[in-house]
């Protein structure tokens, strides 16, 4: 009966456990002590019996439930006796008591029956047959059964000193669940969570929570009642595995592996041996015999490989002796096997191409259309093409041309913008009209008020610079041109020297103040008293004609405010004043003897010197140095610098011009401009080499005149091409920097008459204005 009941009860326990337990707890912990006491002793006995009997019947499936039930029961017992919440050892189970008796009953193994079956081996020892563990469900899995303590009979109190309370089946420590402080437990007791029982799950050490239904079921079970309302204690047997048609064939068996699984197959062995025999007898050959053709191909391939000199080429660094082959251009559309229709030649083009000589063809193939790649025939010219390519690579010398990626602008010297170099003359301002024929020479007086010009009509004209009005016209000759006009470089009194034919006339402008006029007159005529001309005797005793004679002007000239005339024996082409206005030099290139060609005259004493007895080359023009006693003399191709005090040659410049036309010295005295008839303008830095510092070739015709501005960094040249060019020429005095030369402006306006353009150019002493005179008879002011 008890056995039956237990079986029945067990089935009941399976489902509505929670209810019973809860009821039980309610009764237990709070108010129903009496009830619990009533339940007490008889129950114990019953359970004891039940358990023993039950365990014998246990299946592996049902084991956990029964154990749980037992634990609960044990705990309930403990509650009844001590009414204190403690972790209770599972070992105080009656079944473990049995185990300690010494007689071992394998059926009564308490834990983990789900994992293995226990049987007795041949020696009578227990044999554990573990069930297969499904590989996907490891112990880590959340679905895995909760950890069970494996400490066996050892009381839990043994673990009090440790943080863990035992070990699970795999030997891992089961950690002691965190216990709240006393206050926490108090609070827990006040605010009872749902399902609180005050019991501790001995397997986990955690508080054991049971639902009300579970407690109810427990309570009913403990009273030997049916666990629930809908409980059928005698249900119909459900025949899962028995009965007709339900016989289960067990799919798995523990039968040992059949021998055939690990013994080689006789059948296969026979088949293999058959093949082996056939091979031995030569009926089956291990590889194909190479034919003659194959051998040949192989040989060819090897041969080809021998000549592939670039096969193992490694990239080498760039070097003149090692040049990579130039790359072929990539193929174009025409070379496609199926080119777009616009690339296909029409009939006419085809004929034309065929008619052309092979060498003249722009490309050596005709684009052809093939509907598919497999229809493309072999390339007939392949070998030829490759041969030619190889020939090219082998024979054509390869020269590396470094590609110059230079911006041409960057090669130009860095010049300042002309707009920054203002002021400079850039437009025509005033025309001085009146001369008939060429105007050969031009000069602005040191005050900048008057302008003097001389021309082929034999007149010297003095103009008012600011208005263009003529102040005075002096007719020096009716036949000979006026070659030179030159103002005495001292502002007051104004004296103009003009060279016409072989004489030099000194003009005092009649417009100047009376005081100045008388001053000028005294200055010019003072020499008559001081220096009587001493006729030099020649070796023969005959009076040698004096190469220069000073005399009062003829009446025709005297009435035109000429105060003094100096007669030379040949036509002076250059008259240059010394800075102080006491000396001036004349150069007569046409002079018969070189000794008289160059003369330096002293105005106050009316004396003339001829310092150069011999001269190499034909003299052209001359200059005084503004501050040092130096004299610059230009022959046709050379410029020589003489020291007047020491009377010796200091320096010789080699401008490289074929015929020097004019000289101009920078007011600083260290830079010389040389204009030449062979179109070159040469800038000499006298501190540098005797060759030019800069050669300016901007004119298409001969340069007639060149002039530095007296105060501003400007210079200008006049050329036969009818233009005056203005340059910025800045000289830094400290000598650490070379002169900056910037072309500023080409002043055009003079007409070219009979191969002659602009004949003279002169600067205003202070303003950035220049005047020029031309063969067209026009004098212009440029502002």
């Amino acid at each position: 009966m008890a056995q039956q009941r237990a079986g029945q009860k067990r089935k009941v326990v399976e489902i509505p456990l929670a209810e019973q337990v809860e009821d039980n707890v309610l009764g237990n912990g709070e108010f129903d002590e009496e009830l619990a006491e009533d339940d007490g002793s008889d129950e114990d006995e019953e359970f004891d019996e039940d358990d023993v009997e039950e365990d014998e019947e246990l299946d592996s499936d049902e084991e956990p439930l029964s154990e749980d039930g037992e634990d609960v029961r044990q705990q309930l017992r403990d509650v009844k006796t001590s009414s204190s919440v403690e972790i209770v050892d599972t070992d105080k189970d009656p079944d473990t008591d049995l185990a300690t008796n010494g007689t071992y009953t394998p059926e009564k193994r308490p834990a983990d029956l789900s994992n293995y079956d226990i049987s007795v081996d041949a020696n009578g020892n227990p044999r554990y047959i573990y069930k297969d563990i499904e590989p996907n469900y490891d112990t880590d899995d959340s679905d895995a059964p909760i950890t069970k303590n494996t400490i066996g009979n050892i009381p839990l109190s043994y673990y009090d000193a440790y943080p863990h309370i035992g070990y699970d089946v795999n030997g891992r420590r089961i950690q002691r669940p965190a216990k709240g402080a006393a206050l926490d437990s108090l609070l827990d007791s006040i605010d009872i969570p749902a399902g609180w029982t005050g019991l501790t799950d001995p397997a986990t050490g955690k508080p054991l929570n049971l639902s009300r239904e579970e407690l109810e079921v427990l309570k009913k079970l403990s009273r030997n009642e049916t666990p629930g309302d809908g409980y059928d204690p005698y249900p119909d047997m459900v025949e899962y595995f028995t009965g007709k048609g339900m016989e289960e064939v067990m799919p798995l068996s523990a039968a040992p592996e059949p021998k055939r699984r690990f013994v080689p197959s006789m059948h296969e062995h026979k088949r293999v041996m058959k093949i082996v025999k056939a091979i031995k007898e030569g009926r089956i050959k291990p590889h194909k015999e190479p034919t003659a053709e194959d051998l040949e191909n192989e040989e060819q391939a090897q041969e080809y490989a021998q000549y592939d000199v670039w096969a193992n080429e490694v990239p080498r660094p760039d070097h003149a002796m090692n040049m990579p082959a130039p790359k072929l251009p990539p193929p174009g559309y025409e070379e496609s096997y199926h080119p777009p229709p616009e690339y296909l030649p029409d009939k006419h083009q085809q004929d034309e191409w065929e008619k052309q000589d092979e060498e003249d063809r722009t490309r050596d193939f005709l684009p052809k259309d093939h509907s598919a790649l497999r229809k493309v025939p072999g390339y007939a010219k392949f070998v030829k093409e490759k041969f030619e390519r190889c020939l090219d690579l082998y024979l054509a010398p390869r020269v590396r041309r470094s590609k110059l990626n230079i911006d041409p602008e960057s090669l130009l010297p860095k010049l300042p913008d002309p707009a920054e170099l203002r002021p400079f003359p850039d437009h025509r301002s005033i025309e001085y009209l009146g001369h008939k024929g060429r105007v050969r020479t031009i000069a602005i007086d040191p005050t900048g008020e008057y302008l003097a010009t001389g021309g082929d009509d034999g007149t010297v004209r003095i103009w008012e610079l600011g208005t263009g009005h003529i102040l005075q016209k002096v007719r020096l000759s009716t036949t000979d041109p006026v070659n030179i006009v030159s103002w005495r470089p001292v502002a007051s009194p104004p004296i103009l020297a003009a060279c016409c034919a072989d004489s030099v006339h000194f003009i005092v402008p009649k417009d100047s103040a009376t005081v100045a006029q008388s001053e000028a007159h005294t200055l010019l005529t003072a020499g008559f008293s001081s220096a009587p001309a001493i006729p030099t005797k020649s070796a023969t005793g005959v009076d040698k004609p004096n190469p220069s004679s000073w005399h009062t002007p003829i009446p025709a000239h005297a009435s035109q405010s000429i105060s003094l005339t100096l007669s030379l024996r040949s036509t002076p082409k250059t008259l240059t004043w010394h800075r102080r206005g006491t000396y001036f030099a004349t150069v007569c290139p046409s002079s018969s003897s070189p000794s008289t060609a160059i003369a330096i005259h002293a105005l106050p004493t009316h004396t003339s010197q001829h310092p150069f007895k011999r001269l190499k080359g034909l003299p052209q023009t001359a200059l005084f140095h503004p501050s040092q006693p130096k004299f610059f003399l230009a022959t046709r191709q050379r410029v020589r610098i003489y020291d007047l005090q020491a009377g010796k040659l200091v320096r010789e410049l080699l401008p490289g011009a074929r015929w020097i036309s004019s000289l101009s010295l920078h007011p600083g005295g260290n830079n010389l401009l040389i204009g030449s008839y062979d179109r070159k303008l040469l800038w000499h830095d006298l501190e540098l080499a005797p060759t030019p510092y800069k050669t300016l070739r901007y004119h298409t015709r001969a340069i007639r005149d060149v002039a530095f501005h007296p105060s501003l960094p400007l210079f200008a040249d006049a050329s036969d091409d009818g233009s005056v060019q203005v340059f910025h020429g800045k000289v830094v005095e400290d000598g650490f920097e070379n002169a900056t030369i910037v072309p500023l402006k080409v002043l055009k306006g003079h007409k070219v008459r009979g191969e002659l353009g602009v004949l003279g150019v002169a600067w205003h002493p202070r303003e950035a204005m220049c005047v020029s005179c031309g063969a067209d008879g026009v004098v212009r002011l440029w502002a």
Binding site: E449, E464, G466, T467, A513, V515, A783
Partner: protein, 452 residues
Amino acid sequence: MSSASATAQVKIQLQTKSPELQIPKEIGPILVRTGFKRLQLSQLVNTLLENGENHIPLQFLINGQYLKTTIDDFLTQNGISAETTLSVEYVKALIPPQTIASYEHDDWVSSVDVFSSPQQSRILSGSFDGLIRVWGMSSDLLATGTGHSSAVKSAKFISPTQVVSSSGDRTLRLWKYEDSDIGTASLTPTLELYGHNASVDNVAVHAPSSRMLSASADHTVGIWSTRKSDAPAAQEELIPVSNKRRKITPTAKPTATRGPLTLMSGHASQVAEVCFDETYATIAYSVSWDHTLKTWDLATSKCVDTRTTPQSLWSVCHLPEKSLVAAGTALKHITLIDPRVSAQTVSAMTLRGHTNAIVSMARDPNSSHQILSGSYDGTCRIWDLRSVRNDASERIGESVFIIERDAVRQAKKLGTRREDIGGVKVFGVAWDAEVGMVSGAEDKRVQIDRQT
């Protein structure tokens, strides 16, 4: 597009600075069609002024520029939105000047001056032949003054009966002018003023204080008195001892000679022109080739202020209403200089348009906005100082009208080459309310133009 713009309208606010042209105050911004030109706007304003028959031709300034096209074109050119209210200033229209007469001389005419009264107007011209001439309005030569031994550089009326001239012979001469009969008059020299060592290039006159200023090529500015009694005696060595002319004409008794009150030196180069400050007669301005404009205090004969420009200055004109001094340069433009000490920049405005040096300038007697300039390029130009555009660095004015020489105009009509006419450099200009614009030039003529 055109139809759309023709119907488009723009709001304008009309205003003027001349009191006689004020439209009634209550007229606010007016909507006008953008297709309007100057004429339509002028008619509109005349209607507002209720002028009736006698229309006053008007011109319109928008943002300092004269309206010459339709408003629409003006807006598109200047990138102004048609949504904004345009502030339009209207002024009496300038009529293009027309040549009335030209008086022929024997030599280049260096300077002109006009004395006008409602009864009679006289034109004075100085010529490079050393003569000064007085002309009536009907191209009749009334009187000739002989005496200068060199070119007359400048001639001015002091009063209807007194004339001063300066010459390249380093003297200034005072003349007495008398209208004797109908058609004739006499110029008799009254005083010769010696003091300068070089050509006296310009003379300025202030009649109320009987002071004259002279600009000379000897770098000085002279102060002279127009009265013989005030003037000190001249330096003896400056007076030519043997004057041939006087020898030849024994009848003429020698003219009295006087010297300057002061010669003010300070310029580093020849002084080109000098002028009185029109509000304070004790202040004068002089310009020189040394690039400077100097302000002189005549009471102390001291240079008060110097303004240096980048180029030589050849002419000067004071504009009292604008407190500016216009200085014509040896290059191509006129620089307007604020001479006041507070002025930060030298150049307040630049008038560009001439192609050569500007040698003479005159103020519009009727308006403070306009000046006339004569240049070596052979033209006179009228400038309106209201018409300004701002360039990158400076304010630039453009000329309103260009007066060419009659000969050039004829040549253009006939298609003659410019070279055949000869030089047409203008040397002197004068602007008189009655007579008009008078200019003397290298073509040996005095040309009179008037806006009729």
